[in-house]
């Protein structure tokens, strides 16, 4: 309980915008679910060569290594967990300091190669290569993982990205 107070939680997602460019968004929430920071990328679009050369690994490279890493690095604070609805981010868990939790959503296929965990009605995935994340989550963040609607913040990010696009 004391851990959750003052802790911050990151929510990472991406949105395909005009011309198939991707805009990444990263929302940092406090323990009450209120926004502390919001970061977004400018539209990112892989070229044809990258699409060919990265092949099936393009998503993990683009979302995990480039967009996700750029966003979390830009964050001024340290988050306890990075939640994402992008399954590809799980593949590059080693790049991040904190546990990565994949939250499957209804409009994105849950093709994560991860270990499934259940907290209340929340079904999440963690990296198979980092089994120690499970004990961290269970020991310290059970309350958050059980009580929060983990899919909801991604909706906020999508709306915020739309707002930034309108302002651009």
């Amino acid at each position: 309980m004391s851990d959750s107070k003052k802790a911050l939680f990151g929510f990472l997602t991406g949105k395909v915008s005009i011309a198939n460019a991707i805009i990444g968004g990263y929302l940092v929430l406090n323990d009450l679910g209120r926004p502390a920071e919001f970061h977004c990328t400018e539209p990112v679009k892989p070229n044809r060569a990258q699409e060919i050369l990265f092949g099936k690994t393009l998503d993990s490279y683009l979302y995990g290594e480039r967009i996700g890493k750029a966003l979390t690095d830009a964050c001024k604070t340290t988050t306890a967990i990075v939640f994402t609805d992008l399954p590809a981010v799980l593949d590059v868990r080693k790049l991040y300091d904190q546990p990565i939790v994949f939250v499957p959503s209804t409009d994105r296929p849950s093709a994560a190669n991860g270990t499934a965990l259940e907290f209340g009605s929340n079904r999440i995935f963690i990296s198979q290569k980092f089994p120690q994340d499970e004990s961290v989550l269970r020991q310290r963040w059970t309350e958050i993982l059980t009580n929060w609607d983990l899919a909801e913040p991604f909706q906020r990010i999508h709306e915020a990205i739309q707002e930034t696009q309108k302002a651009a």
């Binding site: 209120r34 926004p35 970061h39 977004c40 400018e42 990112v44 830009a74 609607d149 906020r156 707002e163």
Partner: protein
């Protein structure tokens, strides 16, 4: 079968002989000579094949960041609420991760800075916030009430103009509660009519029990101390107290993060002292709560907006211009829009003939009165006409000589039925004298009185008795004291013993009973005596009601909604001499 066909191979052998001899041609010697070998140095092309390098790691990602201030949350000692939260139907909502609805806050149109817009856009749904702050609600709010809270929350200037009975009080309190907990505000001043102070205190206790609330009252010294209490985030004062303490509240030493006006039509007249004093209170946010932002004319709205943002609206703006300018600042919902399953409100006009005694008295009074008015010539004013109207209306209630009353006879008959079925009824009149006579005549129904002669401190007790005493079937109320703020939804019958000038006031009165939580259909009986001034006023009121509805329905509207001087004179077919247009309140 093609697959079985084989190709036959034929082998033949024969001898092949060639005759060979050396012929002396001189070539043999040449063949024996050694071949001279000479070398030629040829430089090789040292250029390497061209290589095209693709650098797949060159996806450059630029980020933009928005940081939001983390205000320390306002800490309160949570009072234990033993009553579990329940929905309107009395069942406890399930404890689940995903709430049934998610009401998000939208940034107002006048917030243009992207960072500020994102701040509101990224806030959690209201239902989530209430859960996270562990704020309990005594009843599960309706979705439209959450929408109202999301409307109020980000706005620094707005009008919540819901129809009476939809819970403006609850929406305002819940928003104040959330703003305080989120440290968006630290001090709120609620100004309301004096009779409603206790109602607001009761509502705060119900909807925000953890918030300390101070009522500004008592003598000058006590009030001065109360105004400056720093540990009271919510202060409630009535309009009269604010006027009395104008030097203090306008002095510059006090500042409120939020000032909310209940029944904000009280300041519709911009030149009134009330309006001037309230407008001068130093504040950050300004909210106006009123079910009738336009009582008589669009000038009323201009007056209310002068409190929100002085000069934002101006006199003479067209109705369409007003609608366009204010659409992001006003939220109005009607019961028919949001409470589709609410019990119906049924109007039953009781058109009555005066008793013979009343009729004789009435005829004499009207004829004499009109003759007197006509004899006044140019000195005739609208006040003279008003006086005659009031005198005639009183005769329509009771014959001053015999005390006979056609309305009373009908009311008694109706109340017999109300009492027999164990129901409750509210009777409205504009005169305390009429109510006092009714109290005597209706003694067998256990009448209670709620009007200007009843001290404020006793009024809550009157309401409680009416609610709980099975022998009290009727409460007699004046429009002035009982038309706003009271929750009497356990009453299923409303009688308008005489009619008010303004349909909005009548609506407020009716909606004491016809509001959220109404037990069943509300029957409204409007008494009108035929062939009298009441019938003529009723026609004017009907026209005004149509005009109001046309404004609220956002259709084209005429310039004024008031009862003009010419209309008042027209009640007696009197000639309008001159003078500017006067609106009846």
């Amino acid at each position: 079968m093609f697959g079985e066909r084989k190709t036959a191979t034929v082998h033949s052998e024969f001898e092949f002989q060639v005759d060979s001899r050396i012929i002396p041609t001189g070539w043999n010697a040449a063949l024996r000579r050694e071949i001279p070998v000479t070398t030629v140095r040829m430089p090789l092309d040292e250029r390497l094949p061209r290589v095209v390098s693709l650098r797949p790691n060159d996806v450059r990602v630029k980020t933009r960041q928005y940081c939001f201030p983390e205000s320390p949350s306002w800490s309160v000692v949570h009072q234990t609420n033993n009553k579990p939260p329940s929905t309107a139907t009395g069942t406890s909502p399930p404890n689940r991760t995903k709430p049934d609805s998610q009401t998000r806050i939208s940034p107002p149109a006048d917030i243009v800075k992207l960072e500020d817009r994102l701040y509101y856009l990224l806030q959690p749904p209201l239902e989530t916030t209430l859960t996270r702050y562990e704020l309990k609600m005594p009843f599960h709010p309706f979705p439209y009430q959450f929408s109202g809270v999301s409307f109020l929350f980000p706005r620094h200037a707005c009008v919540l103009a819901d129809e009476m009975g939809l819970g403006k009080t609850m929406q305002a309190i819940t928003t104040i509660r959330l703003l305080l907990h989120a440290a968006e505000i630290r001090s709120a001043l609620l100004i309301c009519p004096k009779p409603l102070v206790t109602n607001w205190v009761r509502e705060f206790n119900q909807w925000a029990p953890e918030l300390p609330v101070a009522v500004i009252e008592g003598d000058q010294a006590k009030r001065s101390w109360q105004w400056t209490l720093a540990d009271m985030p919510v202060k409630i004062a009535n309009y009269e107290v604010v006027l009395r303490d104008r030097e203090l509240v306008n002095g510059g030493e006090l500042h409120f993060d939020l000032v909310a006006l209940d029944e904000a039509q009280r300041i519709k007249n911009r030149s009134s002292t009330s309006s001037q004093v309230v407008r001068s209170i130093p504040r950050t946010r300004s909210w106006a709560l009123t079910g009738t932002p336009i009582e008589n004319s669009t000038e009323d709205l201009v007056g209310i907006f002068d409190f929100l943002s002085e000069g934002f609206l101006s006199s003479g703006m067209s109705p369409r211009g007003l609608r366009d300018a204010t659409k992001d600042y006003i939220l109005r919902r009607t019961k028919s829009e949001v409470l589709t399953d609410m019990p119906p409100k049924m109007f039953r006009d009781a058109s009555l003939d005066l008793t013979p005694e009343q009729y004789d008295t009435y005829q004499r009074a009207e004829q004499d009165g009109v003759i007197q008015l006509e004899g006044m010539g140019a000195s005739l004013t609208v006040q003279h006409v008003f006086e005659l109207v009031l005198r005639l209306k009183q005769i329509c209630n009771f014959d001053p000589v015999t005390g006979r009353s056609a309305k009373l006879e009908r009311l008694e008959a109706d109340l017999e039925e109300v009492a027999a079925s164990g129901k409750k009824a509210i009777v409205f009149s504009q005169w305390v004298g009429t109510l006092e006579i009714l109290a005597e005549q209706l003694a067998r129904f256990g009448p209670l009185q709620y009007h200007g002669k009843i001290p404020s401190k006793k009024r809550d007790g009157v309401i409680d008795q009416f609610r709980n005493d099975p022998n009290s079937n009727v409460i007699l109320m004046s429009y002035g004291a009982g038309s706003v703020g009271l929750n009497l939804q356990f009453s299923e019958y409303v009688f308008l013993f005489d009619r008010w000038w303004n349909p909005a006031i009548e609506d407020q009165a009716i909606n004491r009973a016809h509001r959220i939580g109404a037990a069943g259909p509300v029957t409204v009986t409007r008494f009108v005596t035929l062939g009298t001034i009441e019938e003529r006023i009723d026609q004017v009121l009907s026209q005004k009601r149509e005009l109001f509805e046309s404004v609220l329905a956002n259709s084209d509207t005429p310039a004024s909604f008031g009862l003009g001087q010419d209309e008042i004179f027209g009640l007696f077919n009197l000639t309008l001499h001159s003078g500017k247009r006067i609106l009846a309140a």
